[in-house]
């Protein structure tokens, strides 16, 4: 964000256009940026609150995932060195928040289709505010889903065996990753022709990404190339790091691959890389999109 002189350039010599009071005076570009971002976030959250079907889905899906995987696969999948429910939960958490961030993509596509983006783009608001608002509100949704999953996990016997600080760090890590991933999905959402495309893309990209990982099985059990993929898959690093922070690793051997041995730094670097690449791409894309 470039910081410009307070008040904006034109507001001084064009006061006649704003009828009711001048534009918020003496506020720097940064303040306006924060305020614009907050206004769009609030709009998205209000929208969510008023769409009960979506909210129910957002609440039920995490519960369903936790119960389905732990109760159905728990009996038949064995992980040497850990109880499967303990092993599984970090995988479910990671998968669910990653899928949750796809909402950023479909919602951008929907807003574009509805012409709301056109409205925003003709307003003198910060050019990144819509994207900030989008990713923020999806972060709220993902936070809700992590809380729900942890509660459900607790009911089926999952436990954090480390301390509160590590547990909190695990939650923050999940949310950081999902936040960074929201920007990837937002770019996708602005690049497709209809919201439906996003859902298809989600299946094609995210199912392999989350399943060919250590989320549900040990990579060692996978055939050669898939094992390598799983060990270097960023989702695996996320799951491994969260497992460590929650103390759910038991005595399961950690694969030799570097990202698995250094899961936490790998995830942190990954988050930074995603943000550094996709935030500017999103902002640039946003400056040229318009409904068709």
């Amino acid at each position: 964000m470039s910081v410009r002189a307070p008040g904006g350039r034109r507001s001084v010599d064009r006061p006649a256009t704003a009828s009711d009071g001048p534009p918020a005076e003496a506020s720097s570009t940064v303040t306006l940026w924060l305020s614009d971002g907050w206004i769009v976030t609030r709009r998205n959250l209000t929208k969510l609150k008023r769409s009960p079907d979506m909210l129910v889905f957002a609440v039920l899906q995490p519960i369903m995932f936790v119960l389905l995987f732990s109760q159905i696969y728990g009996g038949s999948i064995q992980v040497a060195g850990s109880d499967y429910t303990q092993y599984l939960m970090a995988g479910i958490f990671a998968q669910t928040v990653i899928f949750g961030s796809t909402f950023s993509g479909s919602a951008m596509a929907q807003d574009l289709k509805d012409g709301i983006i056109d409205r925003f783009r003709t307003l003198p608001m910060s050019s990144s505010a819509v994207l900030i608002g989008r990713t923020n509100s999806d972060l709220v949704l993902n936070t809700l889903s992590v809380v729900i999953m942890m509660g459900t996990g607790f009911l089926v016997g999952w436990r954090v065996t480390t301390d509160a600080g590590s547990a909190l760090a695990g939650i923050v890590l999940l949310l950081l990753f999902s936040y960074a991933f929201s920007w990837v999905m937002a770019l996708l959402g602005m690049s497709v022709r209809s919201p439906e495309v996003i859902n298809n893309a989600t299946f094609i990209i995210l199912f392999p990404l989350t399943f060919i990982s250590n989320a549900f099985v040990q990579p060692q059990t996978l055939p050669g190339p898939l094992e390598t993929f799983a060990n270097w898959n960023p989702v695996s690093a996320l799951v491994q790091a969260v497992r460590e922070l929650f103390g759910n690793t038991g005595s399961v051997p950690v694969p030799d691959a570097w990202p698995m041995q250094n899961a936490l730094p790998t995830v942190l670097v990954g988050v930074v890389v995603l943000l550094v690449v996709f935030v500017p791409l999103c902002i640039r894309k946003f400056a040229s999109i318009s409904s068709r």
Partner: protein
């Protein structure tokens, strides 16, 4: 002083079947405090002009200034002084009318209190009380358009852009919206309006630019254009098709140019310059000739008449020509296809 000046605007999109020229060297000048209408069929390039002037898209070539500000060079400054309402009603369905307007106010950077006050003012002014406190979802098209239009007026913009403000509305909502727009421009707001309806351009604007294939093909006041296309039209419909040729001669005698018959040959019309007087003479002669009529009357020229006269083809054909794929032709779906086509 011209508050909107555009020169040589071009917009080219790439498509599977080669480049599509949405705009092909378009010039436009709108003096301050006046209302200009861009009149043309789907795909003529009207929306593209509006999108360029409102900073939504960049022209491939050419320059445009709004209140002296280059739309490409400083879009942020342009956005501070314009209000835009598009053909899609860009209101958020899950927000109430009030929340929609308040959000727009805050994003124009009014203070929280000023924004709320302005939203309430607009709710009253546009008679939106009913939609004020309930989500927009479920309200009629006319109500949504009013909220969208109100959104464009949150800051009392220097220049207002309305892109097909009444497309898809029923006649009653259309007339009500016209009333609102007329009140606005009476206060001296500069308005650039796009429309497919000659009557709308006629009702609302000082000056009309007829646009086709991405270029202005005629410009003038409504009267000037009508003079060019023959003003009103007298229409009669005969009971017995055998009378048609005699009726045709009579219409030809009092009208300007050749009378035109419709497909079944019973309904015949001709452009007339002196309106009701010509119709009286036609009816008198038809009566003398003993010809029975189903119907007779005057008709305003339509966009189709303008097009037929100016381009030699109908507006519908022009819309098809502008979108050769035809896949998104808007004649059946009112949801417009103007944009890229």
């Amino acid at each position: 002083m011209a508050i909107i000046e555009a020169e040589g605007l071009q917009k080219t999109y790439s498509s599977k079947s080669g480049p599509v020229h949405a705009l092909d060297s378009m010039d436009l000048t709108v003096p301050q405090g006046t209302v200009k209408a861009l009149l043309g069929p789907n795909g003529a390039g009207k929306t593209t002009v509006v999108k360029i002037l409102t900073t939504l898209i960049r022209p491939t070539a050419g320059t445009a200034r709004v209140d002296g500000i280059d739309v490409v060079g400083d879009p942020g400054a342009v956005r501070r002084i314009i209000g835009v309402s598009g053909q899609y009603s860009a209101v958020d369905e899950n927000l109430t009318g009030f929340e929609n307007l308040d959000m727009v106010g805050r994003l124009y950077h009014l203070s929280a209190a000023a924004s709320r006050r302005r939203a309430r003012e607009l709710i009253d002014q546009f008679e939106l009380t009913e939609a004020g406190n309930r989500p927009v979802k479920g309200f009629s098209g006319g109500m949504r358009r009013r909220i969208d239009l109100a959104g464009a007026l949150v800051i009392k913009p220097k220049i207002l852009f309305l892109d097909e403000p009444t497309t898809g509305l029923d006649p009653r909502s259309r007339i009500s919206l016209w009333g609102i727009i007329k009140d606005l421009v009476r206060d001296g707001t500069t308005l650039l309006l796009t429309t497919q309806y000659l009557e709308e351009a006629d009702q609302l604007s000082d000056d009309i630019v007829v646009i086709d294939g991405g270029r202005a093909i005629a410009e003038g006041t409504s009267d000037e254009l009508k003079a060019q296309i023959g003003g009103h039209r007298a229409v009669v419909s005969v009971v017995d098709p055998a009378d048609a040729s005699v009726a045709r001669d009579i219409l030809g005698r009092h009208g300007e140019g050749d009378p035109v018959a419709d497909d079944d040959g019973r309904s015949i019309e001709v452009a007339v310059s002196d309106g009701p007087r010509a119709l009286q003479l036609i009816l008198a002669d038809l009566g003398e000739a003993g010809i029975d009529l189903h119907d007779a009357g005057m008709r305003r020229p339509s966009l189709d008449d303008v097009f037929l006269r100016l381009t030699g083809r109908s507006a519908d054909d022009a819309a098809v020509a502008a979108d050769p794929g035809g896949s998104r032709n808007g004649r059946t779906s009112a949801a417009g296809t103007e944009t890229a086509a």
